[in-house]
Each structure stands twice: as structure tokens, then as C-alpha cells.
Amino acid sequence: MMVLRESIIMKIHYGTALGALFLTVIHIMMRLTQDFHESLEYENVIANYESVGYAILLGLLLILISVHGFNGLRVILLEMNQGPTYEKLVTIGCLAGMAALIAYGSRTIIMTNMGML
């Protein structure tokens, strides 16, 4: 298994945090163009997914938050217990969780754009 140096991982961690913060601000500003209840209406949510730019923003936000969140979880779990087998399991588990969350979130966007929703 390829092992990244911890400083590279932490650069990614800090970078994803900053990126997610930036995209979240844009996302909130976009929501402010409508009333709160309108923003949550089914047609409007689908319309957001169908807008390519906004769908890319949401997809990126999902990736950044998943990478940042699961690396944070890995760090917490590594502190709670130590040992080579445990650490390998934590790393694999967090990578799998990250991939699964990104896949599940992207699936909604993709299905919408394929007219399946």
C-alpha cells in the first residue's frame, strides 16, 4: 500500500478545509437567492442538480468535505489506539468510507442529470 508522508496528508487536510469553507460560502450565498422553504422544494433541488456549474460545485464540496472529514476521523482513531494492524485497518476503513460517501453523493447528481429522478 502506498503510504503518503504525514505532511502531505496534512497539506491535503488543510487545503480541503479551506476549499470546503470557500465553496460552502458560495453555496450559502446561492441559497440566499430564494426563501428558505423555496430552496428545499423538490423542483428547486432537482434544478440545482441539473445546473452543470452548481452540480460541479456540490460535487466538489462533497469530495472536499469527505476527504477532510474522514482524514480527521483517521487522526482521532489513530490517537485512541496504536499498533500496525489497527492503523492499517483505520486507514483502509477511512479510505473506503470516503469513497463510499463520495460515490453515494455523486450518484444522486448523476442520476438526476440522466433523467432517472
Binding site: R5, E6, S7, K11, V75, L78, E79, M80, Q82, E87
Partner: protein
Amino acid sequence: MATIHPKLSDELSQTVVSSTKSVKIKIKRSNPNVNSEQKFDDFVVPIEKWTTVLDVLLDVKSHLDHSVGVRYSCRQASCGSCGMKINGKPGLACFTKISELDSDTVTVEPMDNYPVVRDLAVNMDRMINNHKKVMPYVIREDSEIDAESGIREFLQSPENVEKYIQFSSCIKCGLCNSACPTMAMDKTFVGPQALAQAYRYIADDRDKGKNKRLKVIDESHGIWRCHFAGSCSQVCPKGVDPAMGIQLLRGYLLGIRD
């Protein structure tokens, strides 16, 4: 058990007569080599305004209970041997006056995050091993001994000395590691003492071992596990600021320092 200081010898009675105050000291006792029992023994000892916690412990050891286990040597905050938890805070027993604790009862316990050898003495292998791991010496290819010109010096500017001089004051007492919350959770964390020493040598412009040291500390239980609680810097008896050293080291690893 509360024991009043006995007046057994002339020397001892002189101490008692000259003192108007006394302090109750609660010493945590344990001997993991024998059993897992832990208890506090109480002793009442006369004090003067200059009496230190170590003085009180040695008084107890000399006159009340010879079996109290305590490690000490220089009695002047230079050797770093008498680190312990004093009223819940890590400190050097020889550098902590009873009068400054502002309490009639003083509780002493072994330092946290170290295995106890007996009573107040702890095993410091973990700190020493981590200290060795960061190569706490100047690394370079050439030597101060030159075959042609004899002995020469590696000169340094006062400005450069300023960059690391405070970190040179470390006496390896281990109080910073004892106060560190990450050390308490992560048994393989390198610790603030070793990280501060890594910075001390990396910041030294005579040293050429920066990359070697950064490689040692840039691992999953290295520098990135520090949460910057800052308790290491709070308890250092020599004014070293390991928390700052750690942040400066991170600068090297993030590429914002050369």
C-alpha cells in the same frame, strides 16, 4: 496517616524550633513491582518561607519514612531529576517553594504519562528514546578537527543563536511530556520535548541534518498529532516554549520556512 515531626536529634529540633509553620504533605505511594495498590500517605513537616517541596520530601525521607521513593540530584533546577505532579500540576520539586503554593496541604504524585517505578520516581525511557530519535546533536559532513589546520570553529552569528537559544535550556525533566494531552492518549507520540529539541538543531545554521530530522518527526505519530494545547510551555521550569518550537517546525514541513 498523619505523623508529627519527631524531635529526635539536636539538629532536627533546631529546625523545628526555628519554624512557626508546618505543612501537610500527601505523597502518592505505589510500587507496581509488588502490587497494584495506590494510596496517599500524609506527613506534617515544619517549613520556612524558603522551604521547597523537595526539602519537605527529603525531611520526610530522613525523619519520618525512609522508604519514600523520590529521584533528585542537583537541588537547583539544573538536572531535571525531581519532576513530579505538585498539587495537580507538573513541576520540579526543587524549584517549587511551599510558600508559593498558597496551601496548607501539598499533594505530590508521580508525573503523568510515564510508568511509575516506585512512589514519585518514574521510568523516563520513552522520553529519552524519543529524544535520541531526533538526533540531538549537530550533524555535518566535515569536522571541527581539520587535518591541515588543526582545530577550527564553526562560527555563528548572534542572530542565529537567538533562533534556538531558548530551546537549548531544556534539562530533560520531562514535565512537558507529562503535561501533554496527546502523550496521555497516544502511547507512540514523539512528544513536545523531542520536538522542541528537533527544532533546536534544525534552526542551528551549523547543522546539516534538517531533512533527516524532519523525516523522523513527519510520521503518523509525529509532529502532526500535536493539538497545540500549549500545556508543555506552561509547565516548563526553564522557560522553553515547546509549543512554539512545534509550530515553527510545522512551518518547515509545510514549506513556509526554509
